[in-house]
Symmetry: C2
Subunit: 214 residues, 2 copies
């Protein structure tokens, strides 16, 4: 199994702050994400700027695309994204439209797992050729103190068994990575934990756990 | 029952074009929407600019908020939005976070109906004090030729019976408004149909049907 990568989520509300954070973390992260907040704050200029500043990193635009898939996907890929996110709640035609544009750019689609999705939905994603999904505790659920549950882990294993690589996020800490052992993990995503003063230290601790379990 | 309003969705990929369309239609629409595409293309500057240009219209920011509710809602309301959209697939904690911020600004939340939502979900929205939802054929489903079905209309009536006012969109044409008779319709939303050469004519035809059925 390939080793999971480390992804920073840039959820600043202004591009200048996001640029600073990205510069600070680029040496110890593999994937840079323009978070939904940053993308809505500053538009596709945020993607284009980070693409220019970090040509060798994988760049994700977290649009949680729910409709208008072809246009949104094209905007993000043209701005330089390698991967974009699409909501699990989107109509399958929207997901297919995003996938088609992604293929044109050699990009990839990540399904953002939200809402009352089913394993039948997941099979439809796989049938479209989708290889990635994002599994997380909702930021707001996290704030409400809801932790990783056995139900979460069972669902992740089921998705992994379908062949889907998962990026996992929502209060990721090195001490909990063992929970995800055996799951095809593509990236572990964190924001403040990697952006803060102890960011490099956190990244090193995450790598240590990754090397231990993958 | 109050009469449904007419809403233009600005889904241009650049602000200059959106400004032109908004100027062209302002005399015959009640509600101006910064569509998801425009918001992602140009960021919150698009909301602030349209607020400034159209101080007396209701202004919607169609973010389809799925997570990070408090921050996204604050960004949009601070930029001048009156209403923002929140995905039906969002965690209830996210919807609650958006509602709390909306209340602070005397704004409103519109639930965007996507994914495998249930009437239990809808009851939770109502319990939070949410008064509006958006019901549509997906843009991509519409492109795939999927029309309004009896199932759509049954679901709209059920939501309306819960007290939720619906904004209805997805290939809205005057000749089909009769389908929605008896439903608490807040707005009818169109994009190209109102933005094009025959936009004013279309708006007049919509008003005529609205006056007939509401």
């Amino acid at each position: 199994m390939t080793k999971p990568m480390i992804q920073i989520a840039l959820d600043q509300t202004d591009l200048a702050s996001a640029i600073t954070v990205a510069n600070n973390v680029e040496s110890f992260v593999d994937v840079i994400e323009v978070g939904t907040i940053l993308a809505f704050a500053e538009g596709m200029n945020s993607v284009a700027t980070l693409r220019k500043n970090h040509p060798d990193h994988i760049l994700v635009c977290d649009m949680k695309t729910t409709d208008g898939g072809a246009i949104l996907a094209r905007m993000a890929f043209e701005a330089g994204a390698d991967w974009i996110t699409v909501s699990a709640a989107a109509h399958i035609a929207t997901i297919a439209a995003c996938k088609k544009v992604a293929d044109e750019f050699n990009g990839e689609i990540q399904i953002e797992i939200y809402g009352n999705w089913t394993m039948e939905n997941a099979q439809e994603w796989v049938d479209l050729g989708i290889k990635q999904a994002i599994y997380h505790r909702s930021r707001d659920a996290e704030l409400a103190g809801v932790g990783w549950t056995d139900a979460d882990l069972d669902k992740m294993r089921a998705l992994s068994n379908l062949g889907i690589e998962l990026s996992i996020t929502g209060g990721i800490v090195p001490e909990e990575l063992y929970l995800f052992e055996g799951i095809k993990a593509k990236t572990f995503i964190a924001g403040r934990a990697l952006a803060g003063e102890k960011g490099k230290e956190t990244a090193e601790a995450l790598r240590e756990q990754i090397n231990r379990y993958w």
